[in-house]
Symmetry: D2
Subunit: 445 residues, 4 copies
Amino acid sequence: MLRSFVHRIDSRSSNPIRDARSVIGICQSLQSARGEVSGAALATELFQAYESLDSAAREAFFDLLVTEFSPNPVEVGRAADMYRADPSQANFVRLQAAVEPPRQELFRRFNLAQGGITVLVGMRRQLLKTLGAHPDRAGVDADLTHLFRSWFNRGFLFLQRIEWRTSALVLERLIEYEAVHQIQGWRDLRRRLEADRRCYAFFHPALPDEPLIFIEAALARGMPAKVQPLLDPEATIVDPAGADCAVFYSITNCQEGLRGVSFGNFLIKQVAEELGRAFPQLKTFATLSPVPGLGEWMMNGDYPLRVADHPTAIRKIIEKLRGGQPPEPMIGPAIQVELSRLCAYYLMYARRGKAPLDPVARFHLANGARLERLNWMGDTSPAGLTRSLGFTVNYVYQLADVERNHETYANAYGITASPEFQRLARMGRRAYESRPQPPSVDASD
Amino acid sequence: MLRSFVHRIDSRSSNPIRDARSVIGICQSLQSARGEVSGAALATELFQAYESLDSAAREAFFDLLVTEFSPNPVEVGRAADMYRADPSQANFVRLQAAVEPPRQELFRRFNLAQGGITVLVGMRRQLLKTLGAHPDRAGVDADLTHLFRSWFNRGFLFLQRIEWRTSALVLERLIEYEAVHQIQGWRDLRRRLEADRRCYAFFHPALPDEPLIFIEAALARGMPAKVQPLLDPEATIVDPAGADCAVFYSITNCQEGLRGVSFGNFLIKQVAEELGRAFPQLKTFATLSPVPGLGEWMMNGDYPLRVADHPTAIRKIIEKLRGGQPPEPMIGPAIQVELSRLCAYYLMYARRGKAPLDPVARFHLANGARLERLNWMGDTSPAGLTRSLGFTVNYVYQLADVERNHETYANAYGITASPEFQRLARMGRRAYESRPQPPSVDASD
Amino acid sequence: MLRSFVHRIDSRSSNPIRDARSVIGICQSLQSARGEVSGAALATELFQAYESLDSAAREAFFDLLVTEFSPNPVEVGRAADMYRADPSQANFVRLQAAVEPPRQELFRRFNLAQGGITVLVGMRRQLLKTLGAHPDRAGVDADLTHLFRSWFNRGFLFLQRIEWRTSALVLERLIEYEAVHQIQGWRDLRRRLEADRRCYAFFHPALPDEPLIFIEAALARGMPAKVQPLLDPEATIVDPAGADCAVFYSITNCQEGLRGVSFGNFLIKQVAEELGRAFPQLKTFATLSPVPGLGEWMMNGDYPLRVADHPTAIRKIIEKLRGGQPPEPMIGPAIQVELSRLCAYYLMYARRGKAPLDPVARFHLANGARLERLNWMGDTSPAGLTRSLGFTVNYVYQLADVERNHETYANAYGITASPEFQRLARMGRRAYESRPQPPSVDASD
Amino acid sequence: MLRSFVHRIDSRSSNPIRDARSVIGICQSLQSARGEVSGAALATELFQAYESLDSAAREAFFDLLVTEFSPNPVEVGRAADMYRADPSQANFVRLQAAVEPPRQELFRRFNLAQGGITVLVGMRRQLLKTLGAHPDRAGVDADLTHLFRSWFNRGFLFLQRIEWRTSALVLERLIEYEAVHQIQGWRDLRRRLEADRRCYAFFHPALPDEPLIFIEAALARGMPAKVQPLLDPEATIVDPAGADCAVFYSITNCQEGLRGVSFGNFLIKQVAEELGRAFPQLKTFATLSPVPGLGEWMMNGDYPLRVADHPTAIRKIIEKLRGGQPPEPMIGPAIQVELSRLCAYYLMYARRGKAPLDPVARFHLANGARLERLNWMGDTSPAGLTRSLGFTVNYVYQLADVERNHETYANAYGITASPEFQRLARMGRRAYESRPQPPSVDASD
């Protein structure tokens, strides 16, 4: 809000290097003795100067962060030699000091002024966009990531229920951030916060108005298969006392600048525990998730089951779905079964390295969830059809098994799945390939 | 409170190594894949096990933290070589990863369970006591310090006024922690929180009941010279509206385990700003400080003015004061002047390396304060007589000058002092030595 | 929200009397000894039963509150006789007890259950609608009013700033309740809470989500004359630091059931004080108010200046405005002046009894404000044209004069107005009548 | 705290009437039109003036509240006649208005200034002390009581747990107010707030630092019989998880000025419910209460069992206990049984009118508790011996029976007691009297 009144460096300035240098100059003051006393004032000055940089100047600024604030290779080498020769703690401490880039202390001092974290998180968001073209900036990113891992340590975050009583400032951000199933204004949001819904977010004490990640759950009778009824603002409100399933239908990381500092796994489990306490009659905690890599994989996957190899009928329907078109209502059950097997196969056997290829599967399986059920036409939105070919999948979080599942996965990427799901995937495999299969664990053991 | 109900490992266990190994085993689990899912439970288990170690087992535990959780020297050396050969960011990131000890992630995971920070801060407090005898544990200390500097970054702390309305839990800790002028029970504390006093502390959001550092101020008419009237629980309450001076008479770091993570300088200045807003008529912000190194220095300082060289009368009175005895009421003004010159000399010219020898002087001068006035018999308590020979000194914080003073000090240890104070110190120097003098700055410029 | 799950008495029940009697039965239990112990449970039962009454049954219920819960006339008479014969305090206390209707204690016990106040305030809202047809229910209304005056005593209310950070639950109610200038959804509301606006409301501790009254202010340079620019969601945000006037453009009583328990006067003055503290450069605190009785009075007022008597040109334009049509842009200045005189005359001389006829004038003048300025075409909305003939008026709250103005008004309905406003009104009077004029006070004295 | 800086009317003023009149003058302003606008300022002025009255002037002030602020008897009589002739609601409303004394509105306006409630509650405390000598002031007391019943309505109070984390300001008041078992300083208080204790208080939102009533409970294994172990600051802390009984050992009304506005019954039951939720394993909720009227009744009761009629051995021991002396350790079991029967008889049969004579019995029995068990030497403090002859009694609150017990009591003062207790009391009665007995209810029915 204040931004409108802040004086900005004239953006038509023709000299990005000079502008960047001027911001770097403030950075140097902030890091000097002056910064110890007048850190807050200097940091505030810095934020305004940084915000006023145009994109060319920002690029120059990032480069200067690399060239001017990295550790001295000669000193690093010398300290490393000493440590190798004598791996004493004194030498180790000296080495650590030599390796820590001056950037680290600079970034820490950002926090001396109000809003410093916000500026830093925003800076990393912008930096990330440039990393592809500028791999030499990886050290700056590593420093920010190191700092954020420490600052946004799980122990400092607090879980807060988001309800209609919550600040409009926060609610507005939910509308803005929700990435999985866009929120269509205040009426839509209000429905998602009614008596049969729950929404929780993690916050950091220094950013009390800024959700870091949030999750939306519906309390239902039976495990839902379809997304659209959950998103309908006119959907009848269910009496939560009669629900036996909590279904997580959306989880959104809000801060692109915190990428790689993950708290999603903590969030799901903590919310499941909260809901279990509040509604002891809940028996199932499950997600209603997309299969976002399915469409792409069916078209271009380097597997024997490339679309070209599918029978024509299947190929046609896949192409239609990829175009965001719903299938004929009269589509034969055989084709449905066929596609379901393919999807189950994809989720259990398609890999990137050793890990599952599907990003959503990777996330939930690594968290200790179990592949439970596949739902044909669970998401009929254009995006749902294009990316997931209309499928949704329920991952189940059974709190007692989560640790075991997680270890199975962590050790050898073993996937836990319900017997029914395994059967489907095996049928897919038998039909299409004859490779050795990765380990899988039967949840019914 | 809960500790009484916690099961403890039998302290008569005859095998400290085995006990320490068992705790290290939990540490390893916490750091493994299991720790990602069940971190909170493992960390809680770890805390209880750690708390139950007897001192021999704790020693063994510290040693295992060195041997089992330090970085691999060979890998470090290899990464350093690569960086030296090609100081690219990719190599730098690799080097950083190699240098970061596994301890760091372990310590971060402590925070997954309630109370993790408290355990870690306590662990460092115990570790610090052993560092003298075990310099090889410096790396563990460096890791904890690095983590605490990040976690207790100034930007996360919040300033809170402590008043009689504050939680008894917090007030009780003030009574326990106050190190400068002990608080004699609740009645004494209550007086220190009356209308003419102010007390402020820094807190961390994760430790809302635990003051990190606190400062006590009195609102007074004129700059006080004597400590005892401020500490008298029966002292008449002054109308704060008539005060023109805020005097800081005590500042206490509460957490030994956070040594080296300083926030004292921020506290004084922020409190001075708060008080200035609340009481615009305040003209002076000053401390009423001891000169804690004076007595020792007069007896044993390696200066020409060792006690042996003093005239007999002076020597006698110094010896008396060192013994905690007040001087005769009839002590001649000449002797008083003599001692004052010595004290002023000590504060301005006695050095440890280039920095002032007196620790309190070091703290306030580094913060940008100015030596303002010396007060004979400002503290007549036994400790005050023994350590400070009864002197108190007022350091003045003039917010407009603090940055300049700090830079003068930071560049070449230049000391800012009032003209009167400089005159006294110069007289001391002229009388006792003829060495070159360090730079000093005249506050009246 | 809960209402949907509550069992309701079948609304097709053909017997309203029986339904009402059944609710009255619960009332009697609540008032009995049982109510002392099980008040909360009984009151909750009562609320559900009351809420389930259809309108016929509610009518019957109100009648039963009169017949069954009024004081006994015989006892009242006897107690009054005793008091007249001997006006001792003992007799007075006895009389008071006789006069207090059993309803009073019944209503007090509503408050034993969560939500009791809300039910009672809602009950009075429904009762008020029936008072015209049922003057015999005035006693019930008097009891509720007595109770509310005590419960909603100014000392219990707290002023709270409403901002975008406020709970959406509260903000939604602002959208719902705003009566003066309807809020067109969340975007409109957000604009009214930007940096150049302020909104404040009174709340009661027992109803923390329920604003009782709220006021909207704009910070402006110069005293605004026109309403529409203030209501434009696209209006540029003004830097509040440059404002010299706070203009109150809307004040809304939210609770119809609290009619007659006024807090509006406290609100305006307290908000003016708050704003004066926050923005010391503010020089003027003024309203931008409608003249809601003007149109009606010009058409039907029992004054010599009935519309029939106006010159045709004036009559035509009045009729046009009354129809919600804006005037020709080319309307002559003479007609403008003519209408302004009429309006000023109306505000200062048109009376209902001795009080001003215009309800908004009555409110602000009774609060100690001063009639400052009349603005032609200050409100060009259809309602503004129809009711106020497009006029707005600024009432000025000069805190130093408010008490004096209020007393002048309270003693003999003397109106304070600016010299310019008085001149205009006098011209109006001279032109249209020759009656004796009510006292007026010159604000320039 | 502020009081020390407030200017006071010179207390040596020789004219109490004049001082009282001057305060009454401010009262009249506060009630006038001026009071509507400048109520806060006037009320503040009034509080200071009232507080400065000496006791003679305060007496005069109370008299003037009677003579100047009572309703007009003639008007009251006229309104009552009209109501008797025609008991219409209009006439009723008129009568109510005539009967309401001007004091009522005056007192309501006290609340316009900060601290108004505190002043009023304090005023009633002082007034109550004078009522015995000045029964004509009963009307003033009735007005205050009426107001307080409305303001301190149960629905507005909030229950708050008092723990060591609570504000020292509040805790200090517990030390000050505790009337049943004095708190011996902060160490004693801290013990009463340990893990095996609970303390709860009711607060009013307008007096957040001022407990109105508080209750202290101990969590114990088995129903405690003796007071002293509960009050021992050195008592071992019990693991609350193992407790099966919550014993309320002290309940204190803090505000003498709120006498007659009772909330004690709500407090006990609400706390019992809270504790039952927090510790589901609790089976018994009981008090450990004194029998404060026993000693006096045994000496001077107008019953056949006056001390003079007792056998000498009994008489001697009663006299000894009355003197605060503990009995010989060797006292024979026959005497113990004898005294227990007397005590049981006293609690069940000794009456004042129809209600039990013992005030503590009256309170708990009216609340629906049951007489459970008598404990010989349950309280060996001097006060316990003198007043209760060393007995304690456990009243049990069985939440399921409380309503029925209360109704039994409310209808005909029927007392519920355990079979054992009844047996004891019957034996007492058989031995000492042959009168008809009041109804009693067997809890075992």
